[in-house]
């Protein structure tokens, strides 16, 4: 039996978000509008955390039918919160809470320029729709909330509607998300034809009876559909446009949470509706592994040469979704071969990374928003020296950077450790081709990890360190308290999830219903463990983050002690002075490395991928002498391979076909009458000859 308070909690959450959506509409003052919308959002998100945590702790499925629309059976809203749904609700709640707090201050940067109440209202609708997508238990309501989520986020993407680029990215997003929805609908329709019902319960019940072809079809359709929402390559093109266009608090939600809702759909289909059960299903897993590792690589490569801070973060979302899908794909491969233990390990890695990515990407987008608010620009080449002007933002951005770069002791390291261990466990798959392919996929992942760490050196270093590169950066100011509070919550979560992995592993193990003892010790503070057994070799690889932290602390204390003793003989002085300028006099800001120049070697090494296009323009004093130049300017840009080579030709083809079809529309009434007559005759013929 589920406790009684569950059934009041879900309506309470819905009511709070609706309140947050409606309340700001009655105020006229931007400050009150933001309080009226974001305080209910924060409370609602916190309650979402409570609800999901209770479901996870109770190990039970929570069912709930809405009494309001129960009268209409075809449209009845029934909710079904099992461990999987609860885990993704936990992600939503954990990110939406700090983002709502953060928005209290961030929304003020729009007051007077844009409607704060629209931002607040839509943000509430957006979060609510995501919560309901994960909680719902039928195709109809799922698609309804899915659409609501897409539309609310579309409106938020075009929030700063006076900029044409934002409108363009909004349209790209709208089109791509609907292509994705079409595939999702197709997947559900296939399941509907198999089961004759639109309820998820019947999908679940008949999961074992799906024919191999049907299963493959559902799987691939779902991968494309949900992959579009999650930002898998090559359906990712909307993501690096839409995320930078949206206000930063919305970017934090879109990148941190909405992409995970796409992952939720994928998980729901793979674990519930089309469960891989025989080695014949392994290719579906490999498809995910390939899609995941190429997403990871493509995402990080574009991020590494990007100088717009928000667009770079958006490309990193493509990368991290790639890592998540890679883990999920490994899990599918292992499940196909019945390797329960390592399937659980891979799933744990993938879900842990989903949770981590939500938290640190939320944090990083919030940090980027503070920078944007403080300097007025998202171009890193105009930043610099912000660590002194915005110390708190800098600290939290650094925490997020270390986490996303997968460095110990923060959370990104733990989930990447698990992912690497899952890759290393692939030796158990009894198929040489798969073993080698997974081994080679690990190259892509390792390169991704290396490039990610290099990219975050650039992101943090160019924005926050060295000297200001523009007047705006010189005059930057620290963000208000509420924004720092939001970042503090997310930053603490990064630290907590890194240092205390057992919290996350037990939540995931309980949510996905596998034995936690397979990969982690039951004791709190116990290590994560992965066994190895083959050819008479037996060993256990383990990782205990609390122990590592303790050791690091002891080493630090010992080092400080050594410094105090060894240097006590002579007092040293630290003298500030200007950076050595090579004897040429004071250095200008322009002699510093920029984001573009810092990544130049990477751009050169991977030029077969980026295909950089460089234009050099020279202006001469006179045409007779080309040795003396008035000015030289160099423009370098990388090409968007996917847009130029995949989408543009496809789009041109569609436009061409539609152009041809337009010839039917002559505008003359005679021809329309002719069409009608032809259509009528055709229908009559059809009726007559129908068997």
């Amino acid at each position: 039996m589920t406790p009684d308070y569950f059934s009041t909690l879900l309506p309470a959450i819905v009511a709070l978000f609706i309140l947050g959506a409606l309340l700001p509409l009655v105020f006229r003052d931007p400050r009150r509008e933001s309080i009226a919308s974001f305080v209910p959002a924060a409370v609602g998100s916190l309650l979402t955390v409570v609800l999901s945590a209770s479901v996870l702790l109770s190990h039970q499925v929570f069912r709930f039918s809405s009494p309001v629309v129960a009268a209409l059976p075809s449209m009845s809203l029934s909710f079904y919160i099992d461990g999987i749904a609860a885990f993704f609700m936990l992600i939503i709640g954990l990110v939406a809470t700090p983002v709502s707090v953060y928005s209290l201050g961030y929304a003020n940067s729009y007051s007077g320029k844009h409607s704060v109440r629209a931002l607040g209202s839509l943000l509430n609708v957006f979060v609510l729709s995501m919560v309901l997508v994960t909680a719902t238990n039928g195709v109809f309501s799922f698609l309804l909330f899915w659409e609501l989520m897409s539309l609310a986020s579309f409106l938020l993407v075009v929030y700063e509607h006076e900029k044409e680029t934002n409108l363009r990215s909004g349209i790209t997003y709208l089109v791509m998300t609907h292509i994705g929805t079409a595939f999702i609908m197709a997947a559900f329709l296939v399941l509907y034809f198999q089961t004759g019902s639109l309820s998820f319960d019947s999908f679940r019940a008949s999961a074992g009876n799906l024919g191999p072809f049907t299963k493959d079809l559902v799987f691939v359709l779902a991968l494309v559909g949900f992959g579009t929402k999650a930002g898998l390559v090559p359906m990712h093109i909307w993501l690096p446009k839409a995320h930078p266009s949206a206000p930063s608090n919305v970017s934090a939600l879109m990148s941190g949470v909405m992409l995970k809702v796409g992952i939720y759909g994928l998980v729901r289909v793979t674990l519930d509706f089309a469960v891989p059960s025989s080695p014949g299903d392994a290719w579906l897993g490999m498809l995910m592994v390939v899609a995941g590792s190429s997403s990871a690589l493509v995402g990080v490569l574009y991020a590494s040469v990007e100088h717009d801070i928000k667009r770079a973060l958006a490309y990193h979302s493509v990368e991290n979704i790639g890592i998540i899908v890679l883990g999920l794909g490994l899990s599918v491969v292992f499940m196909s071969y019945g390797l329960e233990t390592i399937a659980a390990l891979a799933l744990l890695a993938s879900m842990y990374h989903s949770l981590n990515h939500a938290v640190f990407k939320g944090l990083l987008f919030m940090g980027a928003g503070s920078v944007l608010m403080g300097t007025g620009t998202a171009d890193m080449n105009k930043m610099g020296g912000l660590a002194k002007k915005m110390p708190w933002t800098a600290l939290f951005f650094l925490v997020g950077s270390i986490a996303i770069a997968g460095l110990p002791p923060l959370n990104g390291f733990v989930s990447e450790w698990l992912t690497l261990q899952a890759l290393l466990s692939s030796y158990q798959v009894p198929n040489v081709v798969l073993q080698l392919s997974i081994g080679f996929a690990s190259i892509a992942l390792a390169l991704t990890v290396g490039l990610a760490s290099a990219t975050f050196v650039k992101l943090f270093g160019i924005s926050f360190l060295s000297r200001p590169r523009s007047q705006a950066a010189e005059e930057a100011t620290e963000a208000p308290v509420s924004m720092i509070a939001g970042m503090t919550i997310a930053g603490s979560l990064c630290v907590a999830l890194g240092v205390l992995p057992f919290v996350a592993t037990s939540a995931i193990a309980s949510g996905f219903g596998f034995d936690m003892g397979l990969v982690s010790s039951y004791a709190p503070f116990g290590p994560l463990t992965v066994g190895y057994a083959a050819d008479g070799l037996r060993s256990v690889s383990s990782l205990s983050m609390p122990m590592v932290l303790l050791l690091t602390g002891s080493v630090g204390a010992a080092l400080l002690g050594f410094a105090a003793v060894a240097g006590s003989g002579k007092k040293t002085v630290t003298r500030p002075y200007v950076t050595w300028e090579g004897g040429f006099g004071a250095l200008g800001e322009r002699t510093q490395y920029t984001a573009t120049s810092l990544s130049q070697p990477i751009r050169t090494v991977f030029k077969w991928f980026f295909r950089p296009h460089t234009t050099v323009e020279r202006d001469f004093f006179s045409d007779s002498n080309h040795l003396i130049k008035k000015s030289v300017s160099v423009y370098s840009e990388t090409r968007e391979v996917f847009e130029d080579d995949l989408y543009s030709p496809a789009l041109r083809g569609v436009v061409y076909v539609l152009d041809r079809m337009r010839r039917l529309q002559t505008g003359k009434i005679n021809s329309y009458l002719l069409y009608m007559m032809v259509a009528t005759i055709a229908l009559l013929v059809l009726v007559v000859f129908q068997p």
Partner: protein
């Protein structure tokens, strides 16, 4: 062995690593000098340098932030912590249950991350050039390194360093083809990781060639001493790792082997590491610094060789 005794032994092991690391640097410099027909400084020269730097005043750029001043400490702590997880002289580290090979790689990457940030912090173009080059090299090292770990982990079992070293010691001389390829790959990677020729020249301050030195160019006094000491420690740890995994000759197969055997094993490790260091230093006199954009070719070779190693393991 009781857990307290194990911890003490492990702390002594790390103490020895940290204390002997500058000596290894001194030996490498000496070998390099002699092969270049120079006398070279005493092998203890790095100790003199460190003790001099330790008590010197520092000059810190006004452009820097707290990242610059805390980096040497973070680098030192991360490197020494990494040394705790590696069985260097003994076939055993009590912390293997808390962290494995991947954690060691992660901690060294953390140290590098902060070194790269510190390079940018002083607003000098030299620091930028070093960071920019290190960004490229480090990201390309990663796939080769992980693939090597993959092969080692498949052949010797898992990523727990104590089990790996013990398994290697039990196998004796490694004749598996997969391990030979992994050895070649790891040797190239260690050259890149420790900033040796042909990737980087540790003895240069010429802007055309320096990578690591460019990043730490703004440092002086105690901070510089910490950074150089950490660099030596990292070098010793990585070379010892290579020796213990691929050339386990003389390493006892268990911590219970008795004091004599363990002592002999430690001496053997020391000798092998010195020999390997001499090889590295000798290689340095025979090759020139490669042009920066040829470096990826060498790293690609390392990746390819490790891939061949994996194919050999599975087939």
């Amino acid at each position: 062995m009781t857990s307290l005794a194990a911890d003490v032994v492990s702390a002594l092991q790390v103490g020895a690593v940290v204390a002997l690391a500058p000596l290894l640097t001194g030996i490498m410099r000496k070998v390099k000098a002699r092969t270049q027909k120079r006398m070279g400084a005493s092998v203890f020269q790095p100790y003199y340098e460190l003790s001099k730097l330790w008590v010197k005043d520092e000059v810190v750029s006004e452009s820097t932030s707290w990242i610059f001043s805390s980096t040497p400490w973070i680098v030192a702590v991360a490197t020494v912590t990494a040394a705790f997880f590696v069985p260097v002289f003994l076939p055993f580290s009590p912390f293997s249950a808390a962290g494995d090979l991947l954690l060691v790689v992660g901690l060294l990457a953390l140290a590098r991350f902060f070194t790269m940030l510190a390079g940018i912090d002083a607003a000098s173009a030299f620091g930028g050039i070093g960071t920019s080059r290190e960004m490229m090299i480090s990201s390309l090292v990663e796939p080769g390194l992980f693939l090597t770990i993959f092969v080692v982990s498949l052949t010797l079992g898992g990523t727990n360093l104590t089990s790996l070293v013990v398994a290697a010691a039990k196998t004796g001389v490694v004749i598996a083809p997969s391990m030979l390829f992994a050895l070649i790959s790891l040797f190239v990677i260690i050259l890149a990781e420790t900033g040796r020729l042909p990737f980087d020249n540790p003895a240069t301050h010429l802007e055309l060639t320096m990578v690591h030195e460019a990043m730490v160019l703004e440092y002086s006094g105690r901070s510089l001493a910490l950074l150089e000491w950490s660099q030596s420690t990292k070098q010793l740890v990585l070379l010892a790792l290579l020796v213990n995994l691929f050339l386990p000759l003389g390493m006892p197969t268990s911590i219970e082997a008795g004091v004599t055997m363990l002592g002999l094993g430690s001496v053997a490790v020391l000798l092998k590491v010195c020999l390997l260091a001499a090889v590295v230093a000798y290689v340095e006199t025979r090759v020139a610094k490669w042009r920066l954009f040829r470096v990826p070719d060498l790293l690609a070779v390392a990746i390819a060789v490790a891939m061949v190693g994996m194919v050999f393991f599975y087939l």
